[in-house]
Amino acid sequence: MNRRIVIAGAIVAVVAVALVLVGRWEGRRDVSSQRRGIEKMRRLVGPLDAPSLAGFRVLPQFDCLTYGRSGNPVALELCVDSEGRVVQAIDRRGVHRHFWSLTYQPSAATTRVDRAEVQRLIDRMRADS
């Protein structure tokens, strides 16, 4: 009986460790894929105050800047949290929209911009500023 309990316990422990390893690997893979997408969009935008800057979005969790391409004023979008981390990027250039997002885990976002500059650009675009 004791031997069976030990074996069962060992199997449970091995499965638990395997699940943790798989879970962490999946998480790293997902985060790195989102990071790559966000970084690609950041490079596509170029300087934050590029002439293609066409709009903004102010939300409680983050603020966004949109950039025009081919007459579409929201073709590219970067969303920045209060610490300057780019937590979401959207590509609306084609028929299908592509979203890269780390809004559920902002601490994993590695692409950063100057938060003060983002605020300055938003203020420039808002009529009440």
Binding site: L19, G27, D30, S33, G55, V74, E77, R126
Partner: protein, 434 residues
């Protein structure tokens, strides 16, 4: 149903009833009630664990189904373990702790339920009656809180005590089966009438809510009870016919209320300051929470019997997101954090599909563990099936809950009004069948 050992035989059913009521208060549309109910429900869950421990210790024979408990332990254990890879470890641990508490309470209730499982069913139905009557009280004194007003697209819908029309109707849909079972099986005429009155209260509230998922779930639960209590093919046909006619009548009644074309549009928050010429406020023109699936100009979204509320598009998005972490998901309890509603035809912070919700949180492994638990429950019920057994009513609650799970995210969310009755009934199946 008369208690043999007072107060033990009455205390547990009363606590179950009160727990259901307090959980419904925590999800109430009446702000003051919700404020009091939200923290109180966790105290109530702990009280249920304590009372269930006393109930189990006082049982003449304790019943544990190893298969059911082992399968549940796999699912609950995975929920706890997922804190190790969760996108929000603390949130995962908190949510998993509530699931552990509910599972412990359900195991203890089931352990002491042999020969008195109908008392637990009476407690569940009693809780539903409290919730249903409280809804009618809200309708009398705070009509605007009990009825979701008609809009240009949607008719008025009854929500009673709930925060929206789908809240309380979910709980009552789960309780239709035990109310029907008690109505058909109770020994005394008084209990039978009381159970049928409860059934009328539940079905009336569900139909008035216009909740299609709750109607379907209640119908499945009632059909399982019909199959489980009918002693002859003729009686089975009569009972199933009654279920079909009731569902048809309910569905027809749900189509009667009309939208109000004159309804004022829903007020948004304070108007955003205008942008300077040459720039746009993207949130005004392309709101992030609804940029996908905006209807074409002139196309109104009128709700018909088979109209989806945009769920299918949101489900597609949630499935694509779950595919990014397919094996073990984002971590238990993180569904609302990781799911982003980007669809104009869908309004919820959750995908409103329990199985997609499990896949998002715990991946394919979580989904498999959950299905193993359900299989374990039914594998206990079927071999020892007896006509009229209370196990039928418990299995009916589980079946109804699985159907509702197709259109609502709730089974694993302990704070939801439907989780407590579903888990209690699931663990009760083996004890009631024994």
């Amino acid at each position: 149903l008369r208690p043999r050992r007072f107060p033990d035989d009455s205390l547990l059913p009363a606590t179950v009833a009160l727990t259901l009521f307090v959980f419904a208060c925590g999800s109430s549309g009446v702000a003051e009630v919700a404020r009091a109910g939200r923290p109180l429900r966790w105290a109530m869950l702990l009280l249920l664990v304590v009372v269930a421990a006393r109930w189990a210790s006082g049982a003449e024979q304790r019943v544990f189904s190893r298969r059911v408990v082992a399968a549940a332990a796999c699912f609950v254990g995975l929920a706890v373990l997922s804190a190790a890879w969760s996108v929000a470890p603390r949130l995962t641990l908190e949510r998993a702790a509530t699931l552990v508490a509910l599972a412990v309470a359900a195991v203890l209730v089931a352990a002491g339920a042999q020969g008195r499982s109908e008392r637990v069913l009476a407690g569940l139905v009693g809780g539903g009656v409290l919730v249903g009557l409280a809804g009618l009280l809200v309708l009398l004194v705070r009509h605007h809180d009990a009825v979701q007003a008609a809009t240009a697209q949607l008719p008025a819908r009854y929500q009673g005590l709930g925060q929206n029309p789908d809240t309380v109707s979910l709980q009552l849909a789960l309780l239709v089966a035990p109310a029907l079972w008690l109505g058909l099986r109770a020994a005394s005429c008084g209990w039978r009438l009381a159970a049928l009155a409860a059934l009328a209260l539940f079905t009336g509230s569900i139909v008035a809510s216009g909740s299609h998922g709750a109607t379907a779930g209640a119908a499945v639960g009632a059909a399982v009870v019909a199959v489980g209590v009918a002693r002859s093919p003729l009686r089975l046909a009569a009972l199933l016919g009654a279920v079909v006619v009731s569902v048809g009548a309910g569905a027809w009644i749900e189509t009667l209320p009309s939208p109000n074309p004159q309804a004022a549009p829903v007020k948004a928050g304070p108007a955003a300051p205008p942008s300077r010429p040459g720039y746009i406020d993207a949130e005004v023109n392309f709101p992030l929470g609804g940029e996908l699936g905006i209807p074409l100009p002139g196309g109104l979204h009128n709700r018909q019997l088979f109209t989806s509320s945009g769920r299918s598009q949101a489900w597609g998005g949630a499935i694509r997101q779950a595919e990014r972490r397919p094996v073990v998901g984002y971590g238990f309890g993180t569904e609302a954090r990781v799911f982003v509603d980007r669809w104009s035809t869908f309004t919820s912070s959750l995908p409103e599909e329990s199985y997609i919700g499990i896949a998002l949180q715990l991946g394919a492994v979580g989904l498999i563990f959950f299905l193993l638990f359900v299989l374990a429950v039914f594998s206990e019920a079927l071999p020892s099936f007896r006509i009229g057994s209370p196990a039928t009513a418990c299995a009916a609650v589980v079946a109804a809950g699985l159907v509702i799970g197709l259109v609502q995210s709730y089974i694993y969310s302990v704070g939801n009004v439907g989780a407590v009755p579903w888990w209690l009934a699931a663990f009760l199946v083996p004890a009631a069948a024994a």
